[in-house]
Amino acid sequence: MPKPSDLLQGTLDLLILKTIATVPLHGWAVAKRIQVLSGEVLAVGQGSLYPALHRLEQQGWLRAEWKDSDLGRPAKVYSLTRAGRKQLERELDSWSRLSSAVQLLIETA
């Protein structure tokens, strides 16, 4: 399993925001979903997931509520705030710029 540090610096926020963008999720589901949607390539360690979630919440991009969940007990479910949606757009933007730059470099170098 790849270590969290293998994730490119700063992409964790983007992954979390993107994952939650469509449907509110609790921490466990966020981790699972990132893993599944990336075709088991990306795995987020709990050690970085929860601090990241808390940080995004403190920054006002996520909102958290305790709700009944599929786990059979109430869980802390995160959803995007309006500011979070804007932040996601910004992150996507900068990601596409970064990735195309990297792509360009690989192709031409």
């Binding site: 466990w28 709990q46 929860y50 808390h54 919440e57 403190q58 006002g60 309006r82 500011a83």
Partner: protein, 880 residues
């Protein structure tokens, strides 16, 4: 919205910390549970699964801590912990905290006290709406080469300004004075202000009850109107509501009470009992006398310069149509002088207070330097503690932060102490301070003073906190945990602080020294009267309504003089229209000298006094040439005069040459022959040039008696005098019963006040720098015990050791002294306005101040040096 959410989160994190922690715990448990379920699903048993789950999760506590860190509450957390720690330190380390707190309380307290005075006197000096629009209106003129900026207006000028000026929303003139209130009750003399109807609206005040004056009150012949001050209304009328409409006899003329002013109302810097409506009649006697002060409220958007231009236009139109004044305006170069009203109220006290404020800020800097020193010493002693904490993972920023918090806690506590001290000091000041200080009764601690106290505390705390952090060596490298010698940097810092202290103290010493020298010079001036404390004065007014014929008035005054002069113990007596220093009764007129004043020119202004024979003897004013007046001069057709020495020298070089020459008031009065020359009388106070005075023999309705007696000021003498006067006429109101000494003291009081406070500041400064020098050397001795012991062990004598430290003290003192001398020379010209008979660069003052400061620092270094020389080397070496 986002800001709000973030803010609420932080709040919740701070105040519901335990709740946030439980939440975090739950969240992570759920995750762990899922991991366990997954493991079980892959075929492990329960306990195995748990172990695997924990392993897969990773370091649990670290994750939790990282989550907590995102809440960013550590800053606040650390802060509260630091404050608690600092308070505990202040309570336990008394040898450090008590001197620090005491010096802080003294320094900050002194600053708060003076700031409160400045605040009351300077900042809040105009308790009226929109005070920045209030202006004083006077004229500037040039009298015999001297520019006078506060030449009052005549009523005729007022009428012209009032009619044609376009810059004023409201405008009026007022003049202070005294009047007798008779009728029911004892006759009494009250302080009055006569004013035109524009004055109160200009100030923007409404009466408490009744009405303000109107222009109808000013028409000659109309019922005269009076407005009472709240204080007088309470005192004379017991606050009775029915006072409105009542008639009151003031100077034997009936006035109708039309209003009462509010209790809080203050009229500039005078404190009148009643306000009289000024009757304005052009051409009436007195309407050309320039003795009215103007006050006006500028229209919105009008600047001082515009208003001055506007009035200059009015003045030139008025002058052109006025035969009597037209020429004078030209010759005296009369120009309107509109100035901020604050100037009239505050006067020259502003300069004194600013100097004091500066002096006390220096004291506060000294205090900061001393406390910084103490904090440095403590930081050194705590090197071990800091080292251990650094080893345990505390960052340098964290430790520096704690030092700052400790400093701030110290400063805040010191400031609280200072506030208490200032409160006490102000109570003393209000009861014992100079009565001539404007608005002295207003002085007290208010919210502005308390804010100032807070600012003082926080600023000084930050200042010495930062000095301590920067110089404790904390910023450069971690200290080792074993006790060590102080870093060179710290020693340098301490030495620099001491040098700065010595320099600042010297500046204050020089300032105080210059004031002392001025005071001595002032005391040496012969004021033109002797032993003022033995001169009893009483002012007496004989109204026309009571005695019509001037001859009878003269007879009555002569009778009274005769009676009181016979009182046992009275050695001399006389009377005159104005006694020395009685500025409010001064009367000036241009006086021409036969053959000296060019024809067609307006002669210089002189003070005119009408005096009785014997007044010079009673006052102790020496006659330099000629003779005193005789009673026969009063009735003789030959007019005679006595002039002051400076006026005689101005015209004839040698005073006796003036005898027999002729002078007259104005340019067309009758001539009088000079029969005597009297020594100069310093009427405006000994620190001003004595005015030229012309004395005429003669009688006026209001005169002041002067009696020389060793019993002056005693109840017994007063009673006898009153009895004698009442025996002549029982209805005469008496006023200004005081000794000339009181008046003299009053004149010196502001200077004395400045001297005392600056003296206190200087003493504090010297004491603080002694403490500073002592502290640094004592610390150096303690730190260098090992070195000293080794020196002694290899043969250094006590004298060598002693001189080692004495030399250090001397070097510090000389360095500080040199810097202080240069700075003192730089700042001393600021106090030039307070100096008298001494130049700001007076070498004696500088020399003595230097000697004092060097002696003080040497004394301060002697004790530690002796301790060093008497050190027992064996014990010292063994103990380490």
């Amino acid at each position: 919205m986002r800001v709000y959410r973030v803010f609420m989160h932080r709040l919740r994190s701070i105040f519901r910390k335990s709740w946030a922690d439980t939440e975090l715990q739950h969240e992570i448990e759920i995750h762990l549970e899922q991991l366990v379920k997954e493991a079980v699903a892959s075929g492990m048993n329960e306990s195995e699964a748990r172990v695997v789950a924990r392993r897969r999760f990773g370091p649990l506590e670290k994750t939790k801590e990282e989550c907590r860190d995102t809440r960013r509450v550590d800053v606040i957390d650390n802060f509260t912990r630091d404050v608690r720690y600092a308070l505990r330190m202040i309570c336990s380390k008394r040898s450090f905290s008590v001197p620090a707190l005491l010096t802080l309380a003294l320094g900050i307290g002194a600053n708060i006290a003076i700031f409160s005075v400045v605040n009351a006197v300077l900042i809040r000096s105009l308790p009226y709406a929109e005070p920045e629009k209030l202006v004083g209106v006077s004229n500037s003129a040039v009298f015999s080469g001297q520019v006078v900026n506060d030449w009052p207006l005549s009523l005729e000028m007022y009428a012209a300004y009032n009619e044609q000026a376009q810059s004023f929303a409201d405008f009026g003139v007022w003049t202070p004075g005294a009047a007798a209130v008779t009728g029911a009750g004892d006759p009494e003399q009250v302080a009055i202000v006569s004013m035109t109807h524009g004055v109160l609206p200009a100030l923007g005040v409404q009466p408490y009850s009744g009405r303000c004056f109107s222009s109808a009150d000013e028409v000659p012949g109309a019922q005269k109107a009076v407005i009472l001050s709240y204080k007088y209304w309470q005192r004379r009328f017991g606050g009775s509501e029915s006072v409105l409409g009542q008639l009151v006899l003031i100077d034997f003329v009936s006035y109708q009470v039309v209003g009462v002013m509010p209790r809080s109302f203050e009229f500039l810097n005078v404190d009148p009992d009643v306000f009289l409506a000024q009757s304005v009649a052009s051409g009436a006697p007195g309407s050309e006398d320039a003795d009215n002060f103007g006050v006006a409220r500028l229209k919105p958007g009008v600047s001082l310069a515009q208003a001055n231009q506007d009035l200059a236009r009015v003045l030139s139109i008025w002058g052109a149509g006025n035969a009597q004044w037209g020429q004078a305006l030209e010759e005296l170069r009369v120009k309107p002088n509109i100035h901020p009203l604050k100037q009239d109220v505050v006067g020259d006290v502003g300069a004194i207070l600013k100097i004091l404020m500066g002096a006390l800020l220096i004291v506060l800097l000294l205090v900061c330097a001393n406390v910084a020193n103490l904090v440095l010493v403590r930081a050194q002693a705590r090197g071990e503690e800091f080292a251990i904490r650094t080893a345990l993972g505390a960052g340098r920023g964290r430790i520096a932060g704690q030092l700052i918090v400790e400093s701030l806690a110290l400063a805040t506590l010191g400031g609280a102490g200072g506030l208490a001290l200032a409160y006490a000091a102000l109570r003393v000041l209000v009861t014992h301070g100079p009565k001539t200080l404007p608005r002295i009764s207003e002085i007290g601690l208010d919210s502005t003073s308390i804010l100032f106290a807070l600012a003082c505390s926080l600023l000084s705390g930050t200042l010495f906190g930062f000095i301590a952090v920067l110089k404790s060596g904390l910023s450069s490298r971690p200290q080792n945990a074993r006790g060590s010698s102080p870093s060179v940097e710290q020693l340098h810092a301490q030495n620099a602080l001491v040098v700065a202290q010595v320099a600042l103290a010297l500046v204050l010493l020089v300032g105080a020294g210059l004031l002392v020298r001025s005071f001595i010079a002032l005391s040496a001036v012969k004021p033109g009267f002797t032993h003022p404390e033995q001169i009893q004065t009483i002012r007496l007014f004989i109204p026309e309504a009571q005695i019509r014929e001037p001859e009878r008035v003269a007879q009555m005054q002569a009778d009274i003089l005769h009676e009181v002069a016979a009182i046992p113990g009275v050695t001399a007596a006389g009377f005159g229209t104005a006694l020395p220093l009685e500025l409010e009764y001064h009367n000036g007129n241009p006086v021409s000298v036969n053959g000296k004043t060019p024809v067609g020119r307006i002669p210089p202004n002189r003070t005119i006094k009408y005096v009785s024979p014997g007044l010079f003897a009673a006052l102790g004013t020496r006659l330099i040439a000629g003779r005193d007046f005789a009673w026969s001069d009063l009735v003789s057709p030959h007019r005679v005069a006595i002039i002051s020495e400076n006026m005689a020298r101005e015209n004839w070089d040698d005073p006796p040459d003036a005898l027999g020459e002729r002078i007259r008031i104005g340019t067309d009065g009758p001539w009088s022959v000079i029969v005597g020359v009297a020594e100069n009388v310093y009427d405006d106070g000994v620190d001003r040039q004595p005015p030229g005075i012309v004395y005429f023999p003669g009688l006026r309705r209001t005169v002041a008696f002067a009696l020389r007696s060793s019993r002056a000021g005693t109840e017994g003498l007063l009673k006898e005098i009153t009895e004698k006067i009442r025996a002549v006429d029982s209805s005469l109101p008496l006023a200004n019963i005081r000794t000339l000494g009181d008046l003299n003291r009053l004149a010196m009081e502001r200077r004395a006040f400045a001297l005392v406070l600056l003296g206190i500041a200087a003493v504090m400064a010297v004491t603080l720098s002694i403490i500073g020098v002592y502290g640094v050397l004592a610390y150096a001795v303690a730190q260098r015990r090992k070195e000293i012991s080794i020196r002694v062990a290899v043969g250094a004598g006590p004298r060598t050791i002693k001189s080692l430290f004495l030399r250090q003290g001397l070097i510090l003192a000389c360095l500080g002294g040199a810097i202080g001398l240069v700075s003192a020379r730089g700042v001393s010209h600021w106090m030039a306005s307070l100096l008298f008979g001494v130049r700001p660069g007076d070498p004696l003052t500088y020399g003595v101040s230097c000697a004092v400061i060097v002696a003080a620092t040497l004394a301060a270094s002697y004790v530690p040096s002796r301790r060093a020389s008497s050190l027992d080397p064996i014990e010292a070496l063994r103990s380490d």
